[in-house]
Chain length 180, copies 2
DNA sequence: TTGGTTCTCCTAACATGATTAGGATAATCG
DNA sequence: CGATTATCCTAATCATGTTAGGAGAACCAA
């Protein structure tokens, strides 16, 4: 798996090749089939691993009870997680690999991650469904723009706090979430 | 090109195959090389065509001079353009095709499109650079979530106006753009 | 020790898809 | 009409995913 991630980091997640992975671990391509049923199974394992990393990272997010601060924390966590590993972001959050669909086990993991974030946001004080959708859009938008147009930089990451304040001010007035 | 778009619509932009395109136009795969130097050249032609469609659609956007209404118009245009054709969106705005990089001519077209949108936004009254970045993040976020999580629906499209009002209220107070 | 089982990896071969080489047929044009 | 050009084809090559089947080492029970 480490070799696979490394190859993906070099050639892009879509440019991952069993030949390259095999070479990196000192084997021939067919030998990899002892470990993964197919290339998609390898993608699936990587997907699941990424989800677990997400769940793990999520577990260390600490909320204070102060809505705006907590929302900033959650958002920084999310955008940070996305941008710290482009390849993983593409695999987890974009449909970059042509035929790949995560298995139901992996999909369950990803759903769990999503649920956890939503729970965090709700704990932070955002309960309205439309407000949550708006917030997820802002989060993916920031991450997406950061990765696409300023990889390695902080042009959009640096807007996270502004985005939260903008969001909170509006939601408090116009959407009936229950901000504390 | 029509055949290529049709195949892409069916199998996804990454699942596009010269075999399928050839079959659709009643030819053998090698014959396509009379028209495109390579598969990437075909992608590039599609990319350029998508950019031209964007420029064309952009040209019919009419502003009124009222900031919020104009911002809504521009944003609806953008999100609508993105979501009305998923395949085109992936090709133009996401890095879905493994090795594909647009040629400099096509890239110039896409840059022109971007410039036009920025100009529209500036005409609408948003001039601060950070505000513009925030707005592009919101736009891509809405489009991305809509396509990824509710394709064909309107769960995020329906948040466009809210997003603009949220954005405008904040920018007016906290970012030194010159809203009229 | 020995014979079988399992684990791990290999070579050979195949299918698909992009691409190149080179030729045949038909249209066009002086 | 003869030459040129346009258009499309077949045959073959290369890269990659994948399957079939086997060799050798490790391990384990009698």
């Amino acid at each position: 798996m480490d070799a696979a991630w490394e190859v993906a980091r070099t050639h892009g997640i879509g440019g991952l090749t069993l030949r390259d992975v095999a070479r990196k671990v000192g084997m021939r391509p067919p030998s990899l089939y002892s470990y993964f049923d197919s290339k998609d199974a390898l993608y699936d394992a990587m997907f699941a691993q990424g989800c677990r990393e997400f769940l793990e990272a999520h577990a260390s997010v600490r909320l204070t009870g102060e809505t705006v601060a907590d929302l900033k924390t959650v958002m920084r966590f999310f955008v940070g997680f996305c941008t710290e590993n482009t390849v993983r972001y593409q695999l987890l959050f974009q449909r970059v690999v042509p035929g790949f669909e995560p298995s139901k086990e992996s999909f369950a993991l990803s759903e769990e991650g999503l649920r956890k974030v939503v729970t965090l946001l709700q704990s932070s004080g955002v309960t309205d469904a439309r407000a949550l959708d708006l917030l997820t859009a802002i989060g993916t938008g920031l991450a997406d723009q950061q990765i696409s147009n300023d990889p390695g930089g902080s042009r959009w990451i640096g807007l996270t706090d502004d985005a939260i304040e903008m969001f909170y001010a509006y939601v408090q007035q116009h959407m009936k979430g229950e901000p504390e």
